[in-house]
């Protein structure tokens, strides 16, 4: 099946998911991001690559954090940024989703950054706008969050250098997590031999092993000897109901505390996509501790998004 993310020349025209992307394209993004880290560290943090281009942030699901990092990334590429926070119910009452997209295209949008509560929304928009306008998926339902997966890979590469011998554990609500899915895909593409998902059965999706992971329900066993621990955010609405009885019991068995972290390698790094629920999935001692690379993830996130936008903008 034709990969909808690539144009006729095999270049990246949209970034919708990391699944199925050739390794070279991913490595190229990470390498380009390294150059942009340099840019973000100097006085003038801008480069003129996307000057005159318009980037529209189409957020159907609220997220100030992610939207802000995309805005910063676009502005550092000298692009014009327009933010649209579209309340989903307003769209249902009024304008059809694709009509909104068409109207914005008519306003000469060059790039759409889309976040939506439904899996597949970014694919649908990309199919509709074609390869001349570029769509970046900033998160669609449970399906994918490719820029997060890339910045997670960048972070791991920065601290651990080679994926070939690594052991990575992803902990928490895998069932609902697009961050987990994207990270699993990129780790597999980059050749990580041991990827583990840790959590209770209720938070594991059907047939998750087929994604290329090992399932552990015991956190200490799951963390034994890992090089990287990625903690997922547990959404409050999941914490009491058919999936989990309480935040307290979750923290006791699946929250990352210093003593659970001790099962991992002594130089293991701790990651979190943010925002953190301290005391629910992660203990403050760990979040603020020496192994945590949670803040660098944010910096790398801007460079990675600059890399993605500049590669798309030139195709």
């Amino acid at each position: 099946m034709h990969n909808p993310q690539l144009n006729a020349k095999g270049e990246l025209a949209h970034l919708l998911t990391l699944e199925g992307l050739p390794r070279e394209i991913i490595v190229n993004i990470l390498d380009t991001a390294t150059s942009f880290v340099g840019v973000t560290e100097r006085e003038v943090k801008k480069v003129p690559l996307l000057r005159g281009k318009s980037v529209f942030n189409l957020f159907f699901e609220n997220s100030t954090r992610t939207r802000t990092t995309f805005e910063i990334a676009a502005k550092r590429l000298s692009a014009d940024v327009i933010n649209l926070n579209i309340n989903t119910s307003a769209t249902q009452k009024g304008e059809r989703l694709l009509d909104t997209v068409d109207n914005l295209s008519a306003m000469h949008a060059d790039m759409f950054v889309v976040r939506h509560a439904q899996s597949g929304a970014a694919h649908m928009i990309a199919r509709h706008v074609g390869p001349e306008r570029h769509v970046i998926n900033a998160g669609d339902g449970r399906h994918a969050h490719p820029t997060q997966g890339l910045l997670d890979a960048y972070t791991i590469r920065h601290y651990k250098h080679d994926f070939g011998g690594l052991s990575v554990a992803i902990v928490g609500d895998i069932l609902h997590s697009r961050v987990a899915r994207s990270l699993i895909h990129v780790l597999n593409i980059l050749g990580t031999p041991d990827v583990r998902v840790i959590g209770p059965q209720t938070l594991m999706p059907a047939g998750v092993e087929s994604l290329g992971v090992r399932v552990c329900h015991d956190m200490r066993q799951g963390l034994a000897g890992v090089d990287v621990v990625v903690m997922l955010r547990l959404q409050s609405e999941r914490m009491r109901g058919p999936l989990l009885p309480s935040a307290q019991e979750f923290f006791k068995y699946y929250g990352l505390t210093p003593d659970k972290l001790a099962a991992a390698k002594p130089d293991a790094i701790v990651m979190h996509p943010g925002p953190m629920n301290r005391g629910i999935e992660i203990d403050s001692a760990v979040a603020d501790g020496p192994r945590s690379v949670i803040l660098p993830q944010v910096t790398f996130g801007i460079a990675v998004r600059m890399a993605v936008m500049s590669i798309l903008g030139g195709s």
Binding site: S35, G38, V39, P48, L49, G314
Partner: protein, 164 residues
């Protein structure tokens, strides 16, 4: 006409620049050929300030036509640009667009006092009002060919004519 000897030209540039450089002189090489040349000049001239390297991929004027280059290298300017006298080094001066991009990028790091261009070879055919203050040689290049600097494993520099 035979290509100039890169090593010989390099030696001449070193001689010329020796009387010009001071302990405060900064040198920046443009990836990739200019960076190689700059590494050699920097070493031979014994410059005090560490060498800067620029990758101009983010400043090129052909981004919208050709896209972002593969293998972008990181630019590193390990000194304060403000008030600095900079020697900008490139291997082959041609249309002048690479130097224009490099200058734009340098100005995003700060405001230099002056920039002087050092080029190993000037092949003419300028499209912008740019010139080299220090130049090894001029050499016309047949249409459709690219004049490039190569460096072998032992660090020996040589000019070669490649197809575009």
């Amino acid at each position: 006409m035979p290509l100039p000897d890169a090593e010989a030209l390099c030696a001449e540039l070193v001689k010329e620049l020796r009387s010009v450089v001071t302990p405060e002189t900064a040198m920046v090489g443009i990836h990739t050929g200019g960076a190689w040349l700059a590494e050699r000049l920097h070493r031979e001239l014994g410059l005090k300030l560490p060498l800067g390297r620029l990758d101009i991929s983010f400043y090129r004027d052909d981004y919208h036509k050709s896209g972002l280059h593969k293998s972008v290298k990181a630019s590193q300017i390990p000194f304060e640009v403000d008030g600095r006298r900079i020697l900008l080094v490139d291997d082959v001066l041609y249309t002048g667009r690479t130097v224009r991009a490099a200058m734009n990028e340098l100005f995003d790091y700060g405001r230099p006092e002056s920039i002087a261009l050092v080029a190993l070879v000037d092949r003419g055919e300028r499209q912008l009002p740019i010139c080299a203050q220090y130049c090894g040689a001029t050499h016309a290049v047949p249409k459709g060919a690219m004049l490039r600097l190569h460096r072998d494993d032992r660090g020996k520099l040589a000019l070669r004519l490649d197809d575009a």
